[in-house]
Symmetry: C2
Subunit: 915 residues, 2 copies
C-alpha cells in the first residue's frame, strides 16, 4: 500500500501546489474546476466545502480496469468526514443530512462532455429529515427526483427518455406545462415512479445508501473520461487522452429553495463581443442545470439587482476580484441559497474570436497583461474566423426589406454559414463527410451527444436555448456560426422538416445562417470578404505580433543556421491578389503562378497554338503574342508590391493541362466515326493524336517545371523577358521593384546550371536594353526530395529556396494528393494511422526532416540564402511554427491567411524564445 | 619558361618513373604504347629507337588553344637528335635518311580511335636517297605514296576517298587487283598524283621538310584526342576526357622490304577462346597497317615458322618473356626488316568474355596470378556476355541441315544477335535509338567513324577483314556479336541490299548473326539461354568471387553499421525462376511478386470478380478460390529454394491494373450506344463505371501496396494464409523453409503497426493448425522517401528492409519512369545533365543518401536488421558496389544477372578492402 495522496480538500490547495509544483500542475492534478474552487477558497471567497479526487486517481482507476482502490475510497471517506465538520451536517443523517454534488473536472474545460450528479445523499430517510429541517417538501422531492433521474441516466446508464416519458406523462396528467408547476405531492409521486423506472430497467433498487451513491457516481465520472462524446471532444480540441478527469465532491447549495434563492452563470466581459461589461443569465428558484441546459428561459443577470440586491452587489465585487486575480475574463457559476451567495465555479471564459481579440487588446491597454500575453490570448483559428466571409450587407439589407428573413434567434456564434439542413447529428456528419455536402445542423436544442454533427456542419440552428446553452458554447469554441433559440421555428423531427411563419423547409433544403446577426435566410445568401481595416483591435494585435517576430524571432535554428525573424508573404497571381495581400500585412509575394495567366480565355488559344507548334519559330511567334499579356500582369504586380520582393515562378504544369480534355474529345471522335460524320473529323483526330502524344501515366512526376524549361526553353525565355521588361518599365515609373525568378521542380543541380545562366543573360540583356538597373534574384523551388537531399549543391547556383511543400509532401510520402485523399487518406487520418493530414500540417519527421536538412546544408553553401515556403502549409499554424524552428525567412500563404500566419509566427517566436 | 620535361626517350624510362611515381603513372604520362615500348627497351627487347611526347604535353597543347610551345618543339628536336645517333641515320639526310612513325598512345588503349602517320621523313630528295641506299625503288615509292595519303587524310583532313579514287583508277588502268601488283613506276606516278590531290584539296604543296612533317603529324595526333570518334569511344568505355594522348616518334622499320621482311600482330593466348596458344596473323612483305586494316588476307602466325624461322623462334621467346613480365596475355605488333625482328608494341590484349574468364582462371591455376587477381581480370560486362542467350542448338542444326545458313565468316565476337539490317552507321544508330528497332549493322568493313553505329547495333556483319580487323576488335571489346570476312556476301551500298548465293537481302530485312560460330542465318533464329553449368572456368571464378565476398566483404559500412559480406539473391516469381536462380548461385529469393500470379488467364476472372465484389463476403469467397493457386505457387518456390530464405511480397499494384482496358471499353460502349445495340450494354456500362471509379491521376502514388492492404485487408490476409499453408505443407515434406513476408510501400510506421500484427497472427494460426514450426520474418520494402527518412521507427516493427530502388528513384527524383524516359530523361543523360540514368545506376547523392541513412538508423533501432535491395539496380555493378559500401546483406536481381552480381560484389569487396 502506497502513501499516495489521491484526495485533496479545498483547504489543502497549498499541499496540492507543493506536490504538483505550480499552478499549471495544480490544474493538471485537481482539474480546472477543483483547482479554481480551491483557489477561490484560498482567497476567501464563499465556496461550499468540498474535496477533489485527483486526475491521477482517475488514471489509476482506468489502468486498474475501472477499479476504485480501497486506499482511494478510504481517503474519500476521510475527506468527507472533514467536509461534514466544515458544513456542520452529516452524510446520511436523517436529522441534518449533508447533500453533495459529484462533478467531473479535467485540466482543460470540456463543458458538458463528462458527467455530473447532484443532490447525492438524498434517500427516503434523509428526504424526510430534510422536509422537517426546511419545511419545504416541494423543494426536497424536487431535489430527490432530480437525483434519481440523474443517477439513473449518468451512473446506471438508463436512457434519459425513460425518465422524461414519466415526467411528460405526469405533466400531461396534471395539465401543466412547466416542471415548476408540479406540486410537492406530484414530485413525491414522481420520485416513486422514477425509482420504479430504475428497478424496471436495472433489476435492482435505487441505492438508498448515500455512500454507495457517492462511490458509484464518482466511478461514473471517472469512466465518462473515456465516453464517446468526451473522446470526440478531445480529438476536436487537441486535448491529450492521458490527462484524466478529477472528481469534485461539493456540498450542495440550493438555488431552488424559494424566491430568496436562485442560480446563474455569468462572464466578466461579453464573450461574444468582448465588451467590458458583465454578461450572464440567472433564474430565480432553480438549480444550475436549468440555466445551462437552456430549457427554461432565463433572465439577464442585471435583473438580479432587483430580485437579490445584496447577493448581486457581492457578486459584482467578486467578479472584479476574480478577473484581476486570474488576469483573464472569467466564466462563473453561482447559487444563492436563501439570500446567501455561493461561488460554484470560475474559469477562464470561452469566447468568440471577436471577443478574444478585443479582450486581449483591451486588457493589454488596461495594463492588466503585457502585449506578449495579449498575442498569446488569441488563437490563429480565432483570427481565421474573423476573416471568414460574412454575408453581403447589401444582400442582407435587401432580404430584410423584402421579408426574406426566415427567422431570428440569439446570435450565439458569429459568422456566415450556408448549407443544406439536416435534423440529427449522425445524418449531418454523414452528409458532410461522405457526401461532401455543405451542411447546417438544425435541432430543437443540442446535447453533448450531438457534438460530432456540430463539428461537421457549416452552421448550427436551434429553436430553443440561450446564449450559454450547450449549442452556443460549443459553437463559439469551434468557430461554427450558430443561431440559438429561434423560437418561431417549429421542428418536426418525424416529418424531417421545420416550419416558421407558415413556410416549410425540408431536410436537404438550403438555408443561410448568420451567427453574427442571429438571422436565418432561405436559400443561399451572397457572401463577402470582411474588411480587415475595419477590425481595429485585430490590426493592433497583428502589429504587436509583427513586433514580436522581429525581436523574439531572432535566434539560431535547429539546423544551426541563423533565423532572422519569420516574415509573412503571400501567394498571389494578380495585382488584385497583391493589393489584398499587402493590405493584410504581407511583406512580399512568395509565389506568383504564371501559368494561371495562361488560362485566361483570351490567351488560351494562343497558348494551345504555342504548344502545338511544329517548329521553334512558330512557337516563338505564339509566345511573342503572349509576352505583352504577361508583361502587363507583372507590371501590375510590381506596382502593387512597390518596395517588396515579388517571387515569380516560371511555368510549372505539364502542357497537356492547357489542352482540351482528352476523354471528351475521344468520345466525340468515336461517336463521329461510328456515325460516319466526316466533316471536321480529321481535324479532331489530329488534335486528339496530339493530346494523346502528351499523355503521361503520372503527370505529377512527368514533363513539367524545369524539365519543360530544358526541353522547350522558348517558354521560360519569354517569361523571363516579360518579367524583366515589366520590372524595367515600372522602375522608370519610380516603382521599387525586387523581382525574384523561381525555377520549379529542380531535382539535380545540373538542371539549374544549364538553365539559370541562360535566363540570367536575358535579364541582363533587358536591363541593358532598357538602360535601368534593379536588384533581382534567381532561385528554385525545393519540392523534389532529391533537391532537398542535395541542397548544398543546389544552393551553389540558386540564390533562394522556396519549399513547395505540397509536391514535396506528395513525393516524400508517395501520395498523389488527388487520388490519396479520396482513396485512403481520409481513412488514415480518421483511424489515427497518420496523426494529421500531411497536406494540411507539415509532417515534421519526414517532409520536415528534408526541409531542415536542406536549409542547414543550403546555408552552409550560401550563408545569405533566402528561404521560404509557398505550399498551402504556409498558412497553417503548426507548420509555421516548424518554419520558425528551422529558420525560414518567410512563409507565404494565400492573402486571406496572412493575418493568421502573422499571429502564428509571433506565437512560434514566443513559444521558442530563449527563456 | 618552365623546366618541364615534355619528351622522354625510350631509354629514359627510369626518369619517367621517377617523375610519375609508379608504373601506372608512367602509363598515364607516356601512354600505354610509349610506356610499353620503353619497358620493352629496358628489359632488352629489340625496339626501334624513339621517344614519347607526354600526355601532359597534349593537355597543355589543347589548353593553349592547339598551340605547340617552342619548349616542347625544342625538346622534340633534342630527342630526335638522340634517336638519329642511336639509329645511325639522319632525319632529312638524302644519303642516309631516318624515317619515323608518329603514333598516338593514350593511357587506356583506344585501338584505331586516334591517328597514326608512318614513313615521316620521306620527301622527293630522301626518297631518291633511299632508293640508292636500298636499291628497292618499289618499296620506297610504296612507302612514299603511303606517307602522302596518310598525311593527307590524317594531318590535312582530306577525305580518304580522294586518294582511294586515284588508286582505284590506277589499278583499273593497269588491270590489277592488288596494290602489291603495282610496279615501282606505277607507285612513283601515284606519289605525284597523290601530291596533286593535296595541292588541289588544300591549295599548297605536300610539305617536303621532314621537320614540318613531324611537327604537323604530332599536332594532328594531339588534336585527334578530341575528335568525334575518340570522344564516342571514351564515352562508351568510361575513359575520362582529361587524360590526353601521348605522341610516339619511332624509327621506322619496314616489313615491306622484300620476302625476308614481314609484319604481324599476335596474342600470347587466344583472345577469342582463351586457349593458351599463340594466336596471330602476319603478312610477308607488308607494312603493319595492311594487317590491322583487314584489307589484305593474312596468314596465320604459325606460317611464319616456315617463312622467317629465326625471327619466329626469337618472337616465341619474347612472347613468353612478355607474358611473364606483365602477368597477362599480351597483344603485340612486330616487324621483321630484312630478317631482323623489331617489337613495335605490346599491351595487355583485349579479349572476349570467354577468353577473359579462361585466361584469368588458367593463370591463377598456373600460379602466375592470385585468385583475387583472377577475379579482378574479368569485368561484370564480360560475365553478362557469357550468359547472353545463344541460338537454340537444335534450330541451328536444322538450319545447317536444310541449307538455311546464308553465309559464313570469321567468328569475331561471340553471341547471338537478331535484327534488321542497315548498311551505314548513321542509319543503324537512328533505327536503334529513335525507332527502337533491333538492328544488325552490315558493312564491307568498318572504320573508326562507324563506332556509334556498331554500339547501337545488336550485331555486326562484315564481308571483309579478319579476326583482328577493326570491326572484330571493337565488337569484342563491347560484347557485340560480330561476324567478319563473310566473303560470299556482296554488298551493294547504292541499292541498299546484299547478295549471297543469289539470295538478296534488303535493308530492313531480318537476319540472325552468330558471333560464336561465324554463321549468318536469314530471318529470326530461336534463341536459348546458355547453361552456366557447362562453363567450367566461369563456375570456378564465381566460386572464388563468393569466397572473396565472405572474407574481404566483412567490414564496417560507411553508415557505421556492420557489413557482413554481400550475398546475391534473385528475384523470381515461379519455381522455374527459383531453380534457375539457384543454379546461377543465388542464395535466396529477394523478391517474389505475388501479383504476377494473378495475371494467369485461369485466375484473372476470379481476380476481377474479387475486385468488383460489393461485400467483404463476396470478396473473401473469390479470394478463397485464389488461395489454392497461390499456395501451389509458393510450395514450388519453397521446394526449389530448400534451405534458403524466400521473400514474398504481398500485392503491390493498384487494382485497376487487373481490369480490362478502360479506353477500349469506352469505345465499345459508345459504339453500342450510337448503334442502339442494347444487348449487354448495361453490363458493359456498369463495368466501365466501375473501372472509371478506380481511375487515378497518378496511379504510381495511389491506392496500392500497404495502402490497399489497409483499405481491403482480405487480399493480403489470403496471401499470408497461402504462404504459411504452403510453408507448413513443405515443412512436413522435409523441406527447410524460410519464408519472409514483405509489405510494400510503407511510408509511416503506423501502417505497419496496424497491418503487421494482424498478418503475424494469421501466420501463427496456420502453424498452430498445421502443427509445425519454422522460422519466418515480416518486413517491408523501403521505396517511399519517407520510409527511409523514418527508418529508425519502421525498423522497430519491420524485421527486414528491402530497398525498392525503382520506386525510390521515381519518388526521390519525382520522375514517373514511364513518362520520364520518353519525355526528357534520354535527353538529360545524353546532354550530361544527369551523369547516368538513375534507373540503371543508383544515384548515390540522392537515392543513395536515403539508403545510407535508412540502413544506419534502421540498424541502430534493430542491430540484426536484414537489409537488401530488390530493384533493377540489384544486378548493376556500380549499384552493387554502393550496396556493399552501405552494408547491405544482399542484392537481389533477375536470375540471369546473378553471376554478374556475384562478380560485382567480389570486385566491390576487393576495391574497398582495408589496405
Amino acid at each position: 500500500m502506497s502513501d499516495k495522496k489521491w484526495v485533496y480538500l479545498y483547504s489543502e490547495v497549498k499541499q496540492a501546489e507543493a506536490y504538483a509544483g505550480d499552478w499549471e500542475g495544480v490544474r493538471g492534478l485537481l482539474g480546472g474546476k477543483g483547482a479554481n474552487l480551491a483557489e477561490m477558497a484560498r482567497i476567501g471567497l464563499p465556496v461550499p466545502p468540498g474535496f477533489t479526487v485527483t486526475t491521477e486517481a482517475c488514471n489509476a482507476y482506468i489502468a486498474a480496469g475501472n477499479q476504485l482502490s480501497d486506499e482511494m475510497w478510504n481517503q474519500m471517506l476521510a475527506a468527507l468526514a472533514e467536509v461534514e465538520k466544515q458544513a456542520g451536517k452529516k452524510f446520511g443523517d436523517p436529522k441534518n443530512p449533508l447533500l453533495v454534488s459529484c462533478r467531473s473536472g479535467a485540466k482543460f474545460s470540456m463543458p458538458g462532455m463528462m458527467d455530473t450528479v447532484l443532490n447525492i445523499g438524498l434517500n427516503d430517510d434523509t428526504a424526510k429529515g430534510m422536509v422537517e429541517l426546511t419545511g419545504n417538501e416541494r423543494f426536497v422531492y424536487d431535489s430527490y427526483r432530480r437525483l434519481v433521474s440523474m443517477f439513473g441516466s449518468v451512473v446506471l446508464e438508463i436512457p434519459d427518455e425513460a425518465f422524461e416519458e414519466v415526467l411528460d406523462h405526469m405533466k400531461e396528467e396534471k395539465g401543466v406545462k412547466l416542471d415548476t408547476q408540479l406540486t410537492a405531492a406530484d414530485l413525491k409521486t414522481l420520485v416513486e415512479q422514477f425509482k420504479a423506472v430504475v428497478k424496471r430497467e436495472k433489476g435492482f433498487e435505487f441505492p438508498q445508501n448515500p455512500l454507495d451513491q457517492m462511490r458509484l457516481a464518482s466511478e461514473a465520472v471517472f469512466r465518462s473520461w473515456n465516453g464517446k462524446r468526451a473522446i470526440d471532444y478531445r480529438r476536436a480540441s487537441d486535448i491529450p487522452d492521458d490527462l484524466g478527469t478529477a472528481v469534485n465532491i461539493v456540498t450542495m447549495v440550493f438555488g431552488n429553495m424559494g424566491d430568496d434563492s436562485g442560480t446563474g452563470v455569468a462572464f466578466t466581459r461579453n464573450p461574444a463581443t468582448g465588451e467590458n461589461k458583465l454578461y450572464g443569465e440567472y433564474l430565480l428558484n432553480a438549480q444550475g442545470e436549468d440555466v445551462v441546459a437552456g430549457i427554461r428561459n432565463t433572465e439577464k443577470i442585471e435583473h438580479m439587482a432587483k430580485d437579490l440586491p445584496e447577493a448581486y452587489e457581492q457578486f459584482l465585487k467578486i467578479c472584479d476580484l476574480l478577473e484581476k486575480h486570474y488576469k483573464d475574463m472569467q466564466d462563473m457559476e453561482f447559487t444563492v441559497e436563501r439570500g446567501r451567495l455561493w461561488m460554484l465555479q470560475t474559469r477562464n471564459g470561452k469566447r468568440t474570436a471577436q471577443s478574444a481579440v478585443k479582450i486581449a487588446v483591451d486588457m493589454a491597454k488596461e495594463g492588466l497583461i503585457s502585449k506578449k500575453d495579449a498575442v498569446q490570448r488569441v488563437t490563429p483559428t480565432q483570427v481565421d474566423t474573423l476573416l471568414h466571409p460574412q454575408f453581403d450587407p447589401d444582400a442582407v439589407k435587401k432580404a430584410r426589406k423584402e421579408g426574406g428573413v426566415y427567422a431570428t434567434g440569439v446570435n450565439a456564434s458569429p459568422g456566415a454559414a450556408i448549407g443544406q439542413i439536416y435534423f440529427d447529428a449522425d445524418t449531418a456528419e454523414k452528409m458532410a463527410k461522405e457526401h461532401k455536402q455543405e451542411v447546417i445542423m438544425v435541432r430543437p436544442f443540442t446535447k453533448p451527444d450531438d457534438v460530432h454533427g456540430m463539428l461537421a456542419a457549416n452552421g448550427i440552428l436551434t429553436s430553443e436555448g440561450g446564449a450559454t446553452s450547450h449549442a452556443a458554447v460549443v459553437a463559439r469554441q469551434f468557430g461554427v456560426p450558430c443561431v440559438v433559440g429561434a423560437s418561431s421555428i417549429k421542428i418536426d423531427l418525424n416529418k424531417r422538416q421545420m416550419t416558421a411563419n407558415g413556410v416549410v423547409v425540408k431536410e436537404g433544403d438550403w438555408i443561410s445562417v448568420d451567427g453574427t446577426s442571429g438571422e436565418v435566410y432561405l436559400g443561399k445568401m451572397d457572401v463577402k470578404a470582411p474588411k480587415l481595416e475595419e477590425q481595429v483591435e485585430l490590426l493592433t494585435l497583428l502589429e504587436w505580433a509583427d513586433e514580436i517576430c522581429a525581436t523574439e524571432g531572432i535566434r539560431t535554428s535547429v539546423n544551426g543556421s541563423p533565423s532572422r525573424g519569420l516574415q509573412v508573404w503571400a501567394n498571389g497571381d494578380s495585382p488584385e491578389d497583391a493589393r489584398r495581400a499587402r493590405s493584410y500585412g504581407a511583406k512580399g509575394i512568395g509565389l506568383c503562378r504564371t501559368e494561371h495567366m495562361f488560362f485566361d480565355p483570351a490567351r488560351l488559344p494562343i497558348v494551345q497554338r504555342m504548344i502545338l507548334a511544329k517548329t521553334s519559330e512558330a512557337r516563338v511567334e505564339a509566345l511573342n503574342e503572349l509576352l505583352p499579356f504577361q508583361r502587363g500582369d507583372f507590371e501590375g504586380l510590381f506596382e502593387a508590391m512597390d518596395g517588396y520582393p515579388v517571387i515569380i515562378r516560371l511555368i510549372d504544369p505539364p502542357l497537356h493541362e492547357f489542352m482540351p480534355d482528352e476523354e471528351s474529345l475521344l468520345e466525340e471522335v468515336i461517336t463521329m466515326r461510328v456515325k460516319k460524320e466526316t466533316a471536321g473529323l480529321e481535324e479532331k483526330e489530329t488534335l486528339l493524336a496530339n493530346i494523346r502524344s502528351m499523355h503521361e501515366s503520372n503527370p505529377m512526376m512527368g514533363l513539367r517545371g524545369i524539365r519543360l524549361g530544358i526541353v522547350m526553353p522558348e517558354i521560360v525565355e519569354m517569361q523571363v523577358r516579360a518579367i524583366f521588361e515589366a520590372a524595367a518599365n515600372m522602375t522608370k515609373k519610380g516603382v521599387h521593384v525586387k523581382p525574384e525568378v523561381m525555377i520549379p521542380l529542380t531535382g539535380h543541380v545540373n538542371e539549374l546550371k544549364l538553365i539559370q545562366p541562360r535566363l540570367e543573360k536575358i535579364a541582363k540583356d533587358v536591363m541593358d536594353e532598357k538602360g535601368v538597373q534593379f536588384p533581382y534574384k534567381f532561385g528554385t523551388m525545393i519540392e523534389i526530395p532529391r533537391a532537398a537531399l542535395t541542397a548544398g549543391e543546389i544552393a551553389s547556383v540558386a540564390e533562394f529556396f522556396s519549399f513547395g511543400t505540397n509536391d514535396l509532401t506528395q513525393m516524400t510520402y508517395g501520395y498523389s494528393r488527388d487520388d490519396a485523399e479520396r482513396a485512403f487518406l481520409a481513412k488514415y487520418v480518421e483511424e489515427g494511422i497518420l496523426p494529421k493530414n500531411p497536406f494540411q500540417v507539415i509532417d515534421r519527421d519526414g517532409v520536415g526532416r528534408l526541409m531542415d536538412l536542406a536549409i542547414g546544408e543550403g546555408r552552409k553553401a550560401r550563408p545569405e540564402l533566402e528561404v521560404g515556403i509557398c505550399g498551402e502549409h504556409g498558412g497553417e499554424p503548426s507548420s509555421i511554427e516548424f518554419c520558425h524552428l528551422v529558420g525560414n525567412n518567410y512563409v507565404s500563404c494565400s492573402p486571406f491567411r496572412v493575418p493568421v500566419a502573422r499571429l502564428s509566427a509571433a506565437l512560434a517566436a514566443l513559444k521558442h524564445a530563449a527563456k
